[in-house]
Amino acid sequence: MTVDPGTLAAIALLLPAASFLLLAVAYPLRRSGRVAGLVSILGAAGALAAALGAWARQTPEGMTRIAYEWIPQEAGSLATVGVLADADSTIMLVLVALVSLLVQVYSLGYLDAEPRPALGRYYTYQSLFAFSMMGVVLAPGFLQLFVFWELVGLCSYLLIGYWYERPEAARAAVKAFWITKAGDMGLLIGIVLLWYRAGTFDYLEIYDLVRAGQLSVAGLGLVTFCLYLGAMGKSAQFPLHVWLPDAMEGPTPVSALIHAATMVTAGVYLLRRTIWLFALTPDVLHLIGWIGAFTALLAAVLACVQSDIKRVLAYSTVSQLGYMMSAMGAGFAAAGFLHLLTHGVFKALLFLGAGAAIHATGTNDIYRMGGLRRALPQTHIVFVVGTLSLAGIPLFGGFYSKEEILGAVWSGRLVWPFWMLVVAAFLTAFYMFRVVFIAFWGERRADSHGGPHGHGGGHLHDAPAVMSVPLWILAVLSVGIGIYFVRHHGEPEFTAPGWLTPLAVGVAVGGIVLAWLTYQARVVSADDLARAFAPIRRAAQARFWLDDLFEGLYRGALLGLSRLVGWVDRYIVDGLVNMFSAWTLMWGDRLRRIQSGLPQDYVYGLAVGLLLLLIWVQWPR
């Protein structure tokens, strides 16, 4: 029996949906906590199996499309839903399913101290997320993409706010939602505008139009820019990246899954799916490349000054997303997509690793960790593997894809972005090893014993199997990918200059060395370093005032405007209504006074009335 990849992909999509529905409707099941987790994990596992099947059966050129009518209209259907399985979507599907499954398993350990109903809620959200993210991946058209795009945003919101009783978490959740939503509004407009030109939401149909040259290019830049706005919000590009670091208020597995491996890459994935459309508007592509590179550099700088391990990783994610985007901007989507996949694996690894450390120590602060190398040897190893991948050291996952991006950007003649990315690569290696040296290698801090998760009590130990097994799987994958690419070079779409590899490896090693000198060997004083870059450091600690800007816009401009409008509505618009009614009352009172009670005044009334009649009847008309 042969099942085509489309069907398998659809099965992968529907399994988490089923577990979500089950958990959402079956109230007692949800309240039971771990059982709910098992249901969700079962769904994710099934989805992974189906995804792997789909991937295995997928030929590079093959394409399966399943579509059902979703919104009808007089002339056929307005919008369809379905599945578009091709090489890109199936591999992405595998990534999503894999990370989802691992994270869900990991969470059993990470969140074991949670009350049962809360845990059930968590897994319900997780299932919904898996379903939604797969929906994004498999979407055959813009509308479905948008539907699931919003749903993943919802899941992000729900999961960031999982510990909603913490004010920061609640605030971060809405902040994430609002800022991505702002971008999504651009996406929505873009979709509407594109639909108006193309008459369809379907990728393939639009692609056919583009190939046939039937899609007018004039003014298309606005459309693609609007589409890009969506990607900008979701993939945390400058200046809409501000939500992502705050999103770290969510549980760490959530950060790993949503805010590192999958959801935040949706923007990149969108560009990958529709790069042929963006190719029609080179200006917009250039802009994307510039913004991507700038984001990469900016976030790398920001990452250097963070002391919260998750925030370092978050800025790192922003930075890496910038990498991917700049590759897209250079017009070489495959390079960016490749980095998306590898980044998904090793960044999930890093987050889960950091999660293990946090779980053990009960703090996010790298300066309060220290010396975890000995206390958590397994965690240490996998974390270093992830770090090396991220830094772009050969034989590790990120090396090849990162170099591809640099090559792509160079080939795309984005010279300035290229050098920004190189600097960012240096900084990446630096800040990641800064974390490694401070948290894992440095002196053990006296106060770092035991977290709130009940595993403390004096001595630290590695995470339980449910957490470590996923870590190891990801670590192995990171290395595996790295080795795989050493042996299997894909055909690049461009020819990179020969000096690129030494340069890339060089800056990475340079970064590591600097970090070692500063934080481990203490040859370079961290304070001197800080002093040398004082203005940048201060700006970076203030997050370049971007968060303040958004806060100001929100509180000052928006809430201020709303208060003004609210006041105007109550006291001017409604005031006018009240004025009319008050006038009516007043006139009633005034008119009543002609009723003086004097009999002769009543006769006056009679006479005046008669006069009025006499005048009115002979009024010329």
């Binding site: 009808p72 209209q73 509308l143 919003e150 919802l154 929505l188 709303s562 001017i572 009240n578 006038w583």
Partner: protein, 512 residues
């Protein structure tokens, strides 16, 4: 097709219930509720049945009933539904059925409460199913008037400090009290009905066909000048009920003061009645007037969307937030209609339905929260998610639908409207619409965060509150289910609606 007068039964069943309650259920609160549930339940079941039986291939008005009332004037009790009114009838049924459950706890004078509520519902049904303008108007008035007592007796007063240049007027009108709100709502809507009446009479007189029948008037091509002003009259008249800016100010006060089921019904269904009137009478009968004034309708709708959202953001009273969100969402309804495109109009009708359900849900929830916490002050409450997860979840789903999140009915409606807006003559309408949706996400989530998904309130008064119970669940489940069902499968609504909007647009000359 069934030979039973289904529409009449649907329409009059609540009225029968009201009569039974008045005369048969004195001092027996349970019997009162039972009668209410049974009669509205019958209406709901029959609404589903006509939804099921409606022949979408044949389209047009079905389940036709006729009974001449005043033959010399051509007034006929004439009922029928097309795809659009079908959906509205269903909406009404769902909302009132849920409303009865949601107000299970009304204790004071419950006999009168339910009787008035059911009479009101008969009026609402009547407007949606009647094909005779006169009868429609008659039902319209019935749908408005019981509101006065419902709000006046069972409503709640707030406090508004008079200020600004009209402070004197506020002091004179006694703003803030429930009596004020009730009077304002009733009079404002009746003020609107004056315009409707003039419009209807003008059409009747000019048509020269001695009939108030919609079916016959649809065949008449009225003189352009007449169309022009009659359309405006309809727009103002029905627009007041639809909450168009700047004639919307009855709605926040009214909805905030009204008891739960009344707010549900009023914001959920009655405001739709206004939009329905503009579409059915304004656009359906007056093509030239429609074309002439659509710029106004759409532009004001845009103002509604953004202005309503901003006003909602400024409120500190939960009910006012919801009330202003209705103003904003009714803007979407009117915008969709103003686009004069298939997707826009479908979106408009869909939004009527979606907003009806979601706002019904909202008001049900606000009622429940108020009942448990005895507060509507957003910034005094907090962290209810833990104590009342059911209410919190339902509120979140309603909120998400309100901000147009996919997989809820709100998204499809807004999206279709946006598509239509860009297709219309005034493509810039799209942008206020989108901005409004964004603003909606801000105020909805702000409120949700503050009350439910945020840190607990400091006030010990708000600790240990119960979740929804018993009958209240019924209301929530029905509404949430509907909201999601129609969001996931919008075809359920759009298929029948399309059979009504396409002929309408054809008559307007914008579709072949």
């Amino acid at each position: 097709m069934s030979t039973m007068p289904l529409l009449s039964i649907i329409t009059w069943m609540p009225f029968i219930g009201a009569v039974l309650i008045i005369f048969g259920a004195r001092h027996n609160p349970f019997l009162v509720r039972l009668i209410s549930v049974v009669t509205t339940g019958i209406s709901l079941v029959l609404s589903l049945r006509i939804y099921w039986l409606y022949d979408q291939q044949a389209a047009g008005y079905q389940f036709y009933e006729e009974l001449p009332l005043v033959p010399p004037l051509g007034i006929t009790y004439q009922l029928g539904v097309d795809g659009m009114s079908l959906l509205m009838v269903l909406l009404t049924s769902i909302i009132i059925f849920a409303g009865v459950w949601a107000s299970w706890t009304v204790k004071e004078r419950s006999q009168e409460f339910y009787a008035l509520l059911l009479i009101l519902v008969t009026g609402v049904y009547g407007v949606f199913v009647s094909l005779d303008l006169f009868v429609l108007f008659l039902f319209y008035e019935i749908a408005v008037l019981p509101m006065y007592l419902l709000i006046g007796i069972w409503g709640s007063s707030g406090e508004v400090r008079p200020q600004g240049i009209f402070a004197w007027a506020f002091r004179r009108t006694g703003v803030g009290t429930k009596e004020y709100a009730a009077m304002k709502l009733t009079l404002y809507l009746l003020f609107g009905s004056a315009f409707i009446l003039v419009g209807i009479l003008a059409l009747y007189v000019s048509a020269d066909s001695s009939s108030f029948s919609l079916l016959e008037l649809e065949q008449v091509r009225f003189a352009p000048w007449l169309q022009s002003w009659v359309f405006l009259a309809f727009y103002v008249g029905f627009g007041i009920l639809a909450g168009i800016w700047p004639l919307h100010t009855w709605s926040p006060d009214g909805h905030a003061s009204a008891p739960t089921a009344v707010s549900m019904l009023h914001a959920g269904v009655l405001m739709k009645l206004g939009a329905y009137g503009v579409v059915r009478l304004g656009m359906g009968l007056l093509p030239d007037g429609t074309h002439q004034w659509m710029w106004l309708v759409g532009t004001i709708a845009c103002i509604n969307i953004v202005y309503g959202a901003l006003s909602a953001m400024a409120q500190t009273d939960l009910k006012y937030v919801i009330a202003y969100s209705s103003v904003s969402h009714m803007g979407v309804v009117m915008l969709g209609a103003a686009t004069l495109t298939e997707s826009g109009l479908n979106g408009s009708v869909f939004q009527m339905f979606a907003h009806g359900i979601m706002t019904g849900l909202f008001f049900a929830l606000v009622g429940l929260v108020y009942e448990k916490a005895h507060s509507r002050e957003i910034f005094r409450m907090g962290g209810f998610g833990k104590m009342m997860p059911g209410i919190a979840t339902a509120f979140t789903i309603g909120g998400l639908s309100s901000l147009g999140l996919p997989a809820t009915a709100g998204f499809v409606a807004e999206f279709l409207t946006f598509l239509g807006a860009w297709q219309s003559r005034f493509s810039w309408w799209l942008f206020p619409g989108v901005i409004g949706a964004f603003f909606t996400s801000i105020y909805v989530l702000r409120v949700t965060k503050q009350i439910f998904w945020g840190p607990p309130a400091a006030d010990p008064h708000f600790h240990g509150l119960p979740d929804a119970q018993g009958p209240e669940w019924a209301a929530l489940v029905i509404l949430v289910f509907t909201l999601v069902l129609f969001g996931v499968a919008p075809g359920l609504a759009i298929d029948p609606v399309d059979t009504a909007t396409v002929p309408l647009l054809t008559r307007l000359g914008v579709m072949p």
